[in-house]
């Protein structure tokens, strides 16, 4: 309506995360970066965890250092994880949120996938995911609760369609989807386990979100992916940020144990 001045131009408090501390594991990846940037824009304090110097390079490159602190962390090293969580919690205080976007994948064909490959990838996808959440949980509980957002995938719900992939690209590999399916069930288990302790646990299953390198190198692949989505396009990383902010904030205070699918409709048909 023209001429109408709304006194409430923005959703004021519902999605507020001001000065909330949120850990983002895998925060320097394609989706992770969008999540970290949106959290910083929403006023949160972020610990951005990634391998080697990836987090540091991302944070300095994007001038996010006033809100985001980068940390190098290899979540595969489950032997070091409890000590890492303890040290960072003592240093930064207990987190309100934990977002885990870390993942592993061999990109191998089923026929070439070794038992060691399968174990290694799922050690990261499942064992590390479980352990990080559990080690963080006592600090969250002590702090009055929090919200955990795990990342699954549409390929933890449906099989990849071989017709979308063409040589030399292999079909999305078995061990990836198996790990992601496990994350969906882990979400339900943890949600029920911690519900009375004030921690909500949900996961997000992204649909087709190929990173810019894949987009650039394989335009035909992008066309085939787009054609499989009712929205006739792939997702862009910013479209993951809104659902994450929703699940971290009190806007979702009655949502727990849910797998929120952000796939443009891929799994709807």
């Amino acid at each position: 309506m023209t001429g109408f001045l709304n006194p409430f131009p923005m959703t004021t408090t519902l999605f507020d995360l001001k000065d909330r501390l949120v850990w983002v594991a895998g925060g320097a990846g394609y989706l992770g970066q969008a999540v970290v940037k949106a959290l910083a824009a929403a006023g949160a304090q972020v610990l951005c965890l990634d391998l080697d110097d990836k987090a540091a390079a991302f944070v300095s490159g994007e001038n996010l250092s006033d809100r985001v602190y980068p940390l190098s962390c290899d979540l595969n090293r489950t032997d070091l994880l409890p000590e890492f969580v303890k040290a960072q919690t003592e240093r930064f205080g207990p987190p309100h949120g934990l977002v885990n976007l870390s993942f592993g994948s061999t990109a191998k064909k089923l026929e070439e996938l070794s038992a060691e490959d399968f174990d290694r990838v799922n050690h990261a996808a499942l064992t590390s995911t479980f352990l990080l959440a559990r080690e963080v949980s006592p600090y969250m509980i002590h702090n009055g609760g929090g919200s955990i957002v795990l990342f699954a995938s549409m390929y933890g719900m449906v099989s990849p369609d071989g017709g979308v992939y063409e040589s030399p690209m292999n079909k999305n590999p078995l061990e990836y989807g198996v790990g992601k399916a496990g994350v969906i069930q882990m979400t339900r288990y943890l949600a029920v386990h911690w519900a009375q302790s004030g921690i909500r646990v949900n996961c997000i299953s992204p649909g087709p979100f190929p990173n810019p390198t894949v987009q650039e190198k394989h335009p035909d692949f992008i066309d085939r992916l787009s054609g499989k989505s009712p929205m006739n396009r792939i997702g862009v990383s910013e479209e993951i940020a809104g659902p994450v902010l929703f699940l971290l904030s009190k806007a979702s205070s009655y949502v727990t144990g849910h797998n929120l699918v952000v796939d443009g409709g891929w799994t709807a048909w």
Partner: protein
């Protein structure tokens, strides 16, 4: 936070004078949306709209009987003429003529006339309006009762409750499928269709029922009327721009 802003958007919320309808409307309005609330009862809807306006929100009441094709056409014309566009449709109206499993079958028929046939008529009209406006978002309000069978033990020791009418469960299940159907049917037109399935909403039910129910919910409480607001804004706004064909439970973990 621009991501969740609905400034300059126009939404229609059916069942806008009910408990959920008011929360949905408030959530949209707080995000800057202009909201048309519609109901069969013109007095109730005008009163609700006036109360919202007193709080500074841009809310307009319109009469609608979704079981009447003429009324559906009328509201479509009025929205076009008075607002020029529609961006968001929250399909929230429900009639509950059937009171229990053995209720007269004519009541089931009446329920389908409003909740299935009339709803479909309105859904098609509003979808056309949104597409003609360049795209937007449709949010269907279903229920966990459309996903799972009733938990009869919740009604133990609660006189007068526990005879669940089948029509409500039936059409809500259909609405979940219809959301997927519409997502596919209107693929590529910049319109998204999603469904929300809330768990039990606290509505001053008998204490014993609330106690039975809450024992089963991991979060230990029933839904309150504001629990739906965040999800409505997520699905209506650009923050949810890649969520399509989805059914989202707000059940406190009951069915986790």
């Amino acid at each position: 936070m621009d991501l969740f802003s609905l400034k300059n958007k126009v939404a229609l919320v059916t069942g806008g004078a009910g408990q959920y309808g008011k929360s949905i409307t408030e959530g949209l309005a707080e995000a800057g949306c202009t909201v048309i609330i519609a109901s069969r009862n013109i007095e109730a809807i005008e009163k609700a709209a006036a109360e919202f306006r007193e709080n500074g929100f841009d809310i307009h009441g319109m009469q609608l009987d979704q079981a009447d094709p003429v009324s559906v056409k009328n509201i479509s014309e009025r929205i076009k003429n008075e607002f020029g566009r529609l961006d968001v449709f929250v399909n929230n109206a429900v009639a509950r003529p059937m009171k229990g499993y053995r209720g007269p079958i004519e009541q089931f028929d009446e329920s389908m006339r409003v909740n299935a046939t009339g709803m479909m008529d309105l859904l098609r009209e509003m979808t056309d309006l949104i597409i003609a406006s360049g795209g937007g978002s449709v949010i269907n309000i279903s229920s966990m009762m459309g996903m799972y069978a009733p938990i009869y033990s919740n009604y133990e020791g609660v006189p007068g409750m526990g005879d669940i009418a089948p029509d409500y469960c039936f059409h809500n299940a259909g609405l979940i499928m219809l959301s997927r159907f519409m997502a596919k049917t209107h693929a590529g037109k910049n319109i998204r269709f999603n469904c929300i399935s809330p768990g039990g909403l606290f509505n001053n039910q008998p204490e014993k029922f609330v106690e039975n129910y809450c024992k089963k919910v991991p979060l230990g409480r029933m839904a309150n009327k504001d629990d739906i607001k965040g999800l409505i804004v997520l699905l209506a706004s650009d923050a949810g721009s890649y969520i399509n064909g989805e059914n989202i439970l707000i059940d406190g973990g009951l069915y986790a």
